[in-house]
Symmetry: C2
Subunit: 369 residues, 2 copies
């Protein structure tokens, strides 16, 4: 009567087994939030009612995650069509397994109204087509501060899950990887079923023209300053600090996390078989992007695992939209589901029941307001 | 050849064994920092080069804990006579055992220059002899925000260690307990070998006269607003949230933690045998205070454990001062040592060696600057 696990591993099974062996005991999820003005470019991000509101999404996501509804704006954590934030999955996973978690602000447009860690130097990222993302000083401070936090929270018995919320992030992730010399155009994912690859490429091309330097650049902090955002360098710093303390880390996200691998590699951070990516089935089955291809180009021994969850049988249209290519991943949904399932054998039926109940609760908030 | 453990239990052995049984796996230390202007009253606090500098001590303590030296001021983490902050013990304990930790600011006079959680509503506490400590709104916000953090970080498998740094804290702890109806005058400890009980009593009497209400008060948030400080109510909120999630909590501190017990009792927070106090031998052997008496009056089934560490054989005078009644406890030193010893059997010899090496390093910082 062995239950089918919702955890599937795409590659690097041995490393994955090592990372998730019960040597770990201290589990903590850490959700980084930040904003980049790239998300305000029309057509780039669906993660907000309109382009300007995408700047608020990260704070609203973690408020909803923690309090059950957003606090800074009287808004429902779904699109106008009723498609819910991926934080819904994260919230359900945390409720089912009791994973402790923390929120880290490295550059959210608004301060979330829940307790969180602020990284010194936090700043909203610029629109890289027309301006630098961050000053070199801010990039350094974000890396150093996050590294310190990683050292505080990491230990040899730690399994740290690191998620993110930053609309526009696949574009800057793509730009970071390209600027470091990896082929990333056309390979990053999107919260939309029609991935705006051309627009992302144009933004990057404008940035390249604006910066006027020959690519690839060798200095990762310079790459982030010109082409990046506050999020990926902060997660890279956190990863560096946690690894220094002997922790194991699951980067919980889609193609954005390959930009973290690229930065870590460029900075000479050694993984020692202690880093994996954990994501969702919607990312690994996405034909408009190629997470595994990116990982294999950048850090081939990093395992990619995914939560094999589907909403095909769910009656709510807002959730079924995930099967049509909407949202896919975010706020560490996939990785949090995976680690929840490792801690406490969650089966598909139980999960879908909890997801639908939470969705109904969230939609009823809309009717109240 | 059974090694003598440095962990000793004064009372409630069965509850203690339950709390520290290996059912726990997620260990996290959380250090709350705050300031109260009570510490600026001459003669109240030794935790700073002079009375005004006591306001900076909490931030400097956690900077030293994390970075190995204070950052906000070019100062050495010792008194002018070379007596080190108790954070030295906390730092050594964390280094020996690798406990992950977090810093929470609920009202530090300056923002520590390390990653930390800010509690919404954080504020420096007033000098209760002449003014209220906090507005009732701030007290509520601190409780609620800290409770939310406790819910984020607590889980059924958690063992949370909660320490503090706030000079002047035994005075406000005493005032909180008295205002709630417990006999606390003359029973709280001090970082000085000559405990200024009379001065503490006078401050409380001035506060009682100023407030002009008949004691005891039944409303704990009102007690904190008139007689308290930002720290104890925040720790109480964190405790409440963590217990709601099923966590076990070791309150790592001296007589201040009995004020947390008093607030928790008045707020009707149920402990369910999951709360203990962990402190140092210097506190439990202190004849100028009575931690066990306070605990027995307030919450008799809360175990009190202590780290049975002594510096009698140490050659550095600054450390031996602990044996003469200086410092005694702070920044969760006792509780952190205890949990470190539970995680990894630390013997006295190893500990003293590490403490002396760290002390020598810290003193050499003085010579550099």
């Amino acid at each position: 009567m062995a239950e089918q696990s919702i955890v599937k591993v795409l590659n690097g099974r041995e490393v994955w087994d090592e990372i998730t062996s019960r040597g770990f005991s201290n589990v903590l999820s850490v959700y980084f939030i930040a904003s980049t003005k790239i998300s305000t470019i029309p057509g780039i991000s669906l993660a907000g009612v309109n382009s300007e509101l995408t700047l608020y999404t990260p704070a609203l996501d973690v408020e909803y995650l923690t309090l059950g509804k957003p606090k800074s704006l009287p808004i429902v954590p779904t699109t106008p069509d009723g498609v819910p934030t991926p934080a819904l999955l994260t919230r359900v996973a945390i409720q089912l397994s009791g994973i402790p978690y923390l929120v880290v602000n490295c550059g959210s447009y608004i301060d979330p109204q829940i307790p969180h860690v602020d990284i010194p130097g936090k700043a909203v990222g610029g629109r890289i087509d027309v301006e630098d993302s961050l000053t070199p000083e801010a990039v350094s401070k974000l890396f150093d501060g996050s590294r310190t936090l990683g050292k505080m929270l990491g230990s040899e018995s730690s399994l740290l899950v690191v998620g993110e919320s930053m609309p526009g992030g696949t574009t800057s992730a793509m730009a970071i990887m390209e600027a470091l010399g990896y082929r990333a155009v056309g390979r990053v994912s999107s919260a939309s079923p029609s991935n705006p690859h051309d627009l992302k490429r144009e933004i990057f091309e404008s940035a390249v023209k604006r910066v006027g330097k020959r690519l690839p650049l060798v200095e990762p902090l310079e790459v982030v300053s010109h082409f990046g955002d506050p999020l990926h360098i902060s997660i890279t710093g956190f990863l560096a600090g946690a690894l220094e303390r002997g922790a194991r880390v699951i980067l919980a996200g889609g193609t954005q996390m390959s930009a973290v691998l690229a930065l870590a590699r460029a900075l000479g951070i050694r993984f020692g078989g202690r880093v994996a990516i954990g994501t969702t089935r919607w990312i690994v089955e996405d034909r408009s992007s190629n997470l595994l291809g990116l990982v294999k180009d950048i850090y081939p021994d990093v395992p990619v695992a995914y939560a094999d969850v589907n909403f095909l049988s769910v009656r709510h249209r807002g959730l079924r939209a995930y099967e049509e290519g909407y949202v896919k991943e975010g706020v560490g949904a996939g990785g949090t589901l995976i680690v929840s399932a490792l801690l406490r054998n969650i089966n598909m039926e139980e999960l879908l029941k909890a997801v639908q109940e939470e969705y109904e609760r969230v939609v009823s908030l809309a009717q109240e307001s």
